[in-house]
């Protein structure tokens, strides 16, 4: 087990290293952020001065070496545009994104699994058909469009919910969260729904397919033969068996929700990390881009780990294997 963990750690470190190299070289190839940031009246001397101040006049390998040394010392670099440590910018925005992504995932799971089960158990009923049509829409409609439509209907026409931004926050252990205020929830509802839609559709499909497959298995037949009620069959035989792939996918999707909620955050002007990434790419703010992607990779690694742990909880066979 230990060697497995160590091997995994080494792989993760290698991934981080290669990715930072790629991003570094990629941003370098696009152009000089000073050209984008600097005031147009600036002359050549001023552009050169600013370029040198940011260390962008050095050869790429040297820039990377300086960055690498900084990372070993716990410093991921300072944003060119904001003059604030990149990691500060990211951490500052992380609570907003986390609460958006987790709320979206919660919506997707609490609706997706029951609806998927329902349509998997009675695939020919009109309810199942309706659910399937709606889930197709969830796949087909672009997030950008859905977000705008929700804004137009619920904010502009009906005036029920605010259009954009994040609501009032309260500090929970020093972290500003908006899910505990009414204003915050009102602001959260539309973006979280928009973000949840695709994942909801995915979970419905996944649960339905798993259920349909499980219903044909021998153990279901035996369980029925044993005289168990349909409810008991589903609850204690079907559900536990189909949950493993669902947890895997949900875990991965949660990672992508957190890291790439960019479109939704842009439409709803949600001050999260995705919006930060877009803004940083626009001005080639390399320290923030690199730090962001490094943080994202770390997040994925962490989520994968949690998913593995969840397997152990869900599947007795995994537990048994580990204790051997």
């Amino acid at each position: 087990m230990l060697s497995y963990a160590l091997r995994r750690l080494a792989w993760s470190a290698a991934t981080l290293f290669v990715m930072s190299l790629l991003v570094f070289a990629g941003v370098y190839a696009i152009g000089n952020p000073v050209d984008l940031l600097i005031n147009p009246q600036a002359d050549q001397a001023e552009i050169a001065r600013a370029t040198a101040l940011l260390g962008l006049d050095r050869p790429l390998w040297e820039q990377y070496w300086l960055f690498f040394r900084g990372v070993l010392g716990g410093n991921l670099g300072i944003s060119f545009a904001a003059s604030v440590p990149a990691i500060t910018l990211i951490l500052e925005r992380m609570p907003a994104t986390l609460e958006l992504a987790l709320t979206a995932m919660l919506i997707a799971i609490t609706l997706g699994i029951p609806l998927g089960l329902l349509s998997g158990l009675r695939p020919r009923s009109w309810l199942a058909r309706t659910i399937m049509v709606l889930s197709t829409l969830g796949f087909a409609l672009p997030t950008f469009w859905v977000g705008l439509m929700l804004i137009m209907v619920f904010s502009v026409q009906l005036g029920w919910l605010p259009t954009t931004g994040r609501g009032a926050t309260v500090d929970v252990f020093g972290i500003p969260l908006s899910i505990f205020t009414v204003d915050g929830l009102r602001h959260l509802l539309l973006p979280a729904t928009t973000l949840a839609l695709f994942k909801l559709a995915l979970l419905i499909r996944l649960t339905r397919a798993g259920t349909q497959d499980a219903m044909l298995q021998d153990y279901v037949r035996y369980a029925r033969a044993k005289g168990l009620s349909e409810r008991a069959v589903v609850q204690s035989h079907v559900l536990p068996n189909i949950l493993i792939p669902i947890v895997t996918v949900a875990g991965l999707e949660l990672g992508s929700l957190i890291a790439f909620a960019i479109v939704t955050e842009t439409v709803f002007a949600w001050p999260g990390m995705g919006k930060l990434l877009i803004d940083s790419i626009n001005v080639l703010d390399r320290p923030v881009i690199v730090a962001y992607l490094l943080a994202t990779v770390c997040l994925f690694i962490l989520i994968n780990l949690l998913v593995d742990l969840l397997y152990a909880v869900l599947d007795p066979r995994v537990r048994a294997r580990d204790t051997q």
């Binding site: 696009i30 009246q41 600036a42 944003s79 545009a81 925005r93 804004i151 994040r166």
Partner: protein
């Protein structure tokens, strides 16, 4: 202005609504007026001297002020300096406004000005470019608390314009402050109409009125500047009543907002001129070839007849009316109408495809040639559509044009690597001579000329006039010289001017805003109707 009851979003009975409105009116009468504005650009830092980007300056100018100010038509007016004059060719004297106080109550003096003029060069790691505005300054002398003399390294008439971009910070608060001190409000102490209240990076800045401001008391005692770069979201927030006003109304929404009787739109010609730079220094510019893809004997852009033919081939009024949906004015000048040095006698080149073909034959290109037109697709109003339209119009007269549009970051990277030969740029400036210095003067690192003259156009006559203009501290003389230089550059088509953009604001019908040529959005200039 926001009423204390924001129950608008909740389903309410009619009576409650009426009550709420009544209470709101009472509150408004008592001076509890709030203005909420949607800004279009990302604010990166609250330090007013860290980055000279328009979104940062928009926010900063609510809190800070500069010595010279500009009116909505970009003409200089007194700011923190009541008067200024050139004592001799190399010395400017600024008489500061008396009785002005910083937000903390400390008096504003010439020391703060001297400090603020020296500060841009000392900020660590700033890509800001504010240093360009104090480049001409040799030294500053504090004569007394309200008089400051600025010596320039050479006779320099544009100093009052340049100093408009240097916001005056409080020496006491700024001298040991880092960027986080500005973002947290600790060092955000200015003399301006609004004081720092709260800031959430990437989301909003909240301000309260400075009750001791020397200027005309603004109508709003609280201002919220929301940062909403996504166009549809900004419009939606205005339509829903969450915002009172927005800047940079998306061109597609203007018609609908105009039809909405609860809202109104105000517009003016912006200082941003959209132009096409042409490679005028390489014998074989990249992307240029004959119609079969073989190299041409010479660079066609160096021939004035070709440049003129290209200018004639472009239907500017069609671009302004259709592609830009009315948000443009055909251009013939280096600066927009009303800007210092604009020549109203110059008329935009009329659309004349036959004339263009004739000129091309005359120049030895009866079959035309091939070019690649590069430009950004996320910077200016409808920029990519403008590129496509220009390409089609040029192709119609035989110049087969391929478009390469890319995000500004990638596009600028290619320009700096000199991979483009025909490229679109937008430019805004207070004065024709300043524009000429950046766009038309031959690139010269020593003198700081032509940093944005991508085509390396060079014309000693234009340059000499421009130098005379910049060197004269007599404004009338300077404007005449700048106008002459700009006219000459345009007659020689140093670049091809396309249009001046139109900038627009949308707001509640009971608000008014004098549209500004420099595109700035200031809460204190909004007034109730």
């Amino acid at each position: 202005m926001r009423y204390p009851c924001t129950m608008k979003h909740r389903p309410l009975t009619k009576h409650l609504r009426l009550l709420c409105a009544a209470l709101g009116l009472l509150a408004a009468g008592a001076g509890a007026a709030e203005l909420r504005i949607g800004l279009s650009g990302e604010v990166t830092s609250l330090d007013p001297q860290y980055l000279a980007a328009q979104p940062n300056l928009t926010v900063a100018r609510h809190v800070f002020e500069s010595l010279t100010d500009v009116d909505p038509q970009t003409r200089l007016i007194p700011g923190l300096a009541e008067r200024w004059r050139a004592i001799d060719a190399n010395t400017w004297e600024f008489n500061l406004r008396r009785g002005v106080k910083f937000h903390d109550g400390s008096p504003f003096t010439a020391d703060d000005v001297a400090f603020s003029l020296a500060r841009p060069l000392s900020i660590k790691g700033s890509p800001g470019g504010f240093a360009a505005y104090v480049r001409a300054v040799a030294s500053t002398t504090v004569v007394d608390a309200h008089t400051l003399r600025v010596k320039t390294k050479y006779p320099y008439g544009a100093l009052p314009e340049d100093l408009n971009s240097i916001l005056i910070v409080s020496k006491k608060h700024a001298q040991n402050a880092g960027p986080e001190d500005f973002d947290s409000g600790r060092a955000l102490v200015g003399t301006g109409p609004y004081k720092y209240l709260r800031y959430q990076r990437g989301d909003r800045l909240e301000l309260t009125r400075n009750e001791h401001w020397w200027g005309k008391t603004p109508a709003w005692n609280k201002v919220t500047l929301r940062i909403l770069p996504a166009d549809p979201s900004r419009t939606a927030a205005l339509l829903s009543g969450e915002l009172d006003a927005i800047e940079h109304v998306p061109s597609a929404d203007i018609k609908n907002i105009n039809k909405n009787n609860k809202l109104n739109v105000t517009q003016t010609t912006s200082w941003r001129t959209i132009l096409l730079h042409l490679d005028q220094y390489r014998s074989q510019p990249p992307g240029v070839s004959d119609v079969n893809g073989k190299p041409l004997p010479a660079n066609p852009f160096m021939d004035l007849r070709v440049r003129r033919a290209m200018s004639k081939a472009i239907n500017r009024s069609a671009i302004a009316e259709r592609v830009m949906e009315g948000l443009a004015v055909p251009a013939a000048n280096i600066v927009s109408p009303g800007v210092f040095g604009h020549n109203s006698a110059l008329k935009a080149e009329p659309y004349d495809p036959d004339g263009a073909k004739r000129l091309l034959s005359e120049a030895g290109y009866p079959n035309g040639f091939r070019v690649t037109l590069a430009g950004p697709n996320n910077r200016y109003i409808n920029d990519e559509q403008v590129l496509q339209t220009v390409a089609q119009l040029l192709t119609r007269v035989g110049i087969q044009t391929r478009v390469e549009a890319a995000p500004m970051s990638a596009f600028l990277g290619r320009v700096r690597k000199e991979e483009t030969s025909f490229a679109l740029l937008g430019w805004g400036s207070f004065a024709a001579d300043l524009s000429l210095r950046s766009l038309v003067a031959a690139p010269d690192t020593e003198k700081g000329y032509g940093a944005w003259n991508w085509g390396r156009y060079a014309n000693p006559k234009v340059e000499s006039l421009m130098e005379q203009a910049l060197g004269s501290v007599d404004r009338n003389k300077r404007e005449a010289l700048a106008r002459e230089a700009g006219t000459l550059a345009m007659q020689d088509l140093a670049f091809i001017p396309l249009h001046h953009q139109v900038v627009s604001w949308a707001m509640r019908a009971d608000l008014a805003y004098v549209p500004r040529t420099d595109e700035f959005t200031f809460a204190h200039h909004f007034t109730p109707r």
